[in-house]
Each structure stands twice: as structure tokens, then as C-alpha cells.
Amino acid sequence: MVGTMKAAAVIKEMELPPEPPPPRTKEGADDSEIPDSALVKASRDGDMPAYDQLVQRYQDRIYATIYHMTSNHEDANDLAQETFIKAYSALKSFKGDSSFYTWVYRIAVNKTINFLKQRKNKVSLSLNDLDFNIENDPELVAFVSDKTPRRDIALAELQEKLNMAMQKLSDVHRMVVTLHDIQGLSHEEIATIMECNVGTVRSRLFYARQQLQAYLSDYVK
């Protein structure tokens, strides 16, 4: 098993980075055939390549969640790494009641919220560049073109305004918007990750959208 995983890791390394972000997939339905549960079991037994596979499987989603919460690449990088290190150290306490994916998400969410509490209101944006594939999103292009003929400037400006508006939301409201409207998670999944009920998720989402709409009234019709 170790050999197979090492080989898979080598093949994975030879591939180009996944860009743009791949569509969200359920547990075990990733490009690899090995289910999460098997990788978790192997990782617990000290199989490092198995854990490496798990990290590769969820690194982009965990990173993206933290990035959208902090609007800072460096902070997201640190927190995402710490999330996987913490998950590894706590792997023995993972009972498998939920999927590994939900469990690691929960670690990331808690870590990020703790970090944001320490950071308080000191927001420093360090935004990632927009992927060139944005040009292939007709709806978004049409939406931006509607506002201004100079799309390149408008995109950068919109990106900054959007991130600033996001940072004005409270941590839990920003988390719900991130997980639902950006990451595409269902209300039920978010409720499990944030350890609250679905009704709370829905009301937080509604309130957060209202707030965002007010903050971005110049850009949202």
C-alpha cells in the first residue's frame, strides 16, 4: 500500500497544479480511488504518504476557506498548514463519526476563528491575483462590463471592494457566506462543520447577504 501511495504521490507531483479550482467533490469521489477512510487508517498507522494524499486531496479547499475568511494569502498559508498538522496530531482521536473532510474543515474553521479573534479588527489585505479563466465566465464578464467598459480596472477594484465588504461582516457571518456562496457547501454541511443547526445557518446567511448587499450597493443593482 505504501508503495502504491508513494507512486501516486510522485505522479501527483509531476502534474501541474489544479487551476482553476476543481468542482467540489464528496468524500472518496476524488481523482484517486482510495477512499478517505482507508487513507485515514493508513495515516494513523504511520503511513506518511497516505496522509500526504489526504493533504493533497483537501489542501485547495481548506486553503480557499481560510483565504476567503482572512483575505490574506500569508495568513491563509500558515493557518492551512497548521490545520493539517493539527489534524495529523489529532488523527488518533478522530472517531469517524463524520467524514474526514468535515472533520478537517471543522479544525480549519476553529483555527481561523481563533486567529481572527486574536487579530481583532486589524485587517490587512493580501489578495491573490484573479485567475485568467475569469474571462471565460460570461455571466461575470457581462455583469462587470455592465458597470464599466474597462474591465481590467473594474475587476481589480471590485475584488478589493468585495474583500473589504467581506471583512466588515462578523466572523460567523463571513464563514457562512464563504462556505455557502463561495465554496458551495450545503446548509447541512455547514451546520455540521460549524456545530449549529440548519436554521441558524440559513438566518446567518440571509443576514450576511443583506449586510453585503448594503456594503456593496454601488456595485450590486
Partner: protein, 145 residues
């Protein structure tokens, strides 16, 4: 203007964030960095963490009790010294409490002061040196023009 519960435009705008991507090849090295840190021992946990026990409150309570104990011990020891009159209890070095007690004892035997008035009264020997001294010359800087 959209109604409060019509978030179509906002949802379109939020799609912009999906295109915010980290630097190229960032994810290629990510897991390697995580694994290096794990292998360097950063994921090592203490035995109580492995058992799922959070000992931080216990440690805090123990530290608090220890601090209280030290204070109580200190107060009890200080009271004992006064009762013993300082004989040998402080190892030859008089404690502040002992010094105070001695000062009061000496004050009982001392002659009462003649007067509390700082101006010498008639009949009191005057130390003439107090009034001796040079002439005080004050000098002030010349005013600027």
C-alpha cells in the same frame, strides 16, 4: 434595485472570489511543506493530549492554589516572628517588625521633646551654625532684546 431577499447580483459578484488563486505552483509544494513540518516533530503531542484530556484548567487551578498557599504561609510566618520577639527567628537580622517594636520600646524610655515648635524657644541652646553661611547671590539671565 433588488429586494432584500433577491441576491442574484450579489451571488454573481461573489463568484469573483472563486477566481482569486494563490501563486502558480503554490499547491504543488504545499503538502510537502506540511509533511516536512510533521516530520520535524511539530505534530508531536503530550500524553494528556493523546488521551484527549485538557489539563490547562487543572494547571491553572494548581498554580492558583500554590500562590494562595505561599501567601498564607508568608502571613503565618510573619505573625510568628512578632510573637517570638525576633529572638533568633530571623537569624540575627532584625525584621522590620522587630525594629518597629524596638523603636517603640526606646521611645518609652526617652525624655519627652521640649517642644514641637521648629522655632527655638527662649532658653533653648541655639546652634548658631544654622545661621552662618555665605550671602546668597541670585543671578538672572539678561533679558533678550
Amino acid at each position: 434595485m433588488s429586494s432584500p431577499d433577491n441576491f442574484d447580483s450579489l451571488e454573481k459578484l461573489l463568484r469573483l472570489k472563486q477566481y482569486e488563486q494563490p501563486p502558480p505552483r503554490y499547491f504543488r509544494d504545499f503538502s510537502g511543506r506540511v509533511m516536512s513540518r510533521i516530520e520535524a516533530g511539530e505534530a508531536r503531542t503530550s500524553w494528556w493530549e493523546r488521551l484527549g484530556i485538557d489539563l490547562r484548567p487543572t494547571f491553572a487551578a494548581a498554580a492558583g492554589m500554590l500562590a494562595c498557599g505561599l501567601v498564607v504561609y508568608g502571613v503565618a510566618t510573619a505573625d510568628g516572628n512578632i510573637e517570638m520577639g525576633g529572638d533568633g527567628a530571623s537569624g540575627g537580622i532584625p525584621l522590620p517588625t522587630e525594629l518597629t517594636a524596638r523603636a517603640f520600646a526606646q521611645a518609652d524610655h526617652a525624655s519627652p521633646p521640649n517642644s514641637t515648635n521648629p522655632i527655638p524657644a527662649f532658653g533653648t541652646p541655639i546652634d548658631h551654625k544654622v545661621f552662618e553661611g555665605g550671602v546668597i547671590r541670585a543671578s538672572f539671565p539678561a533679558p533678550r532684546r
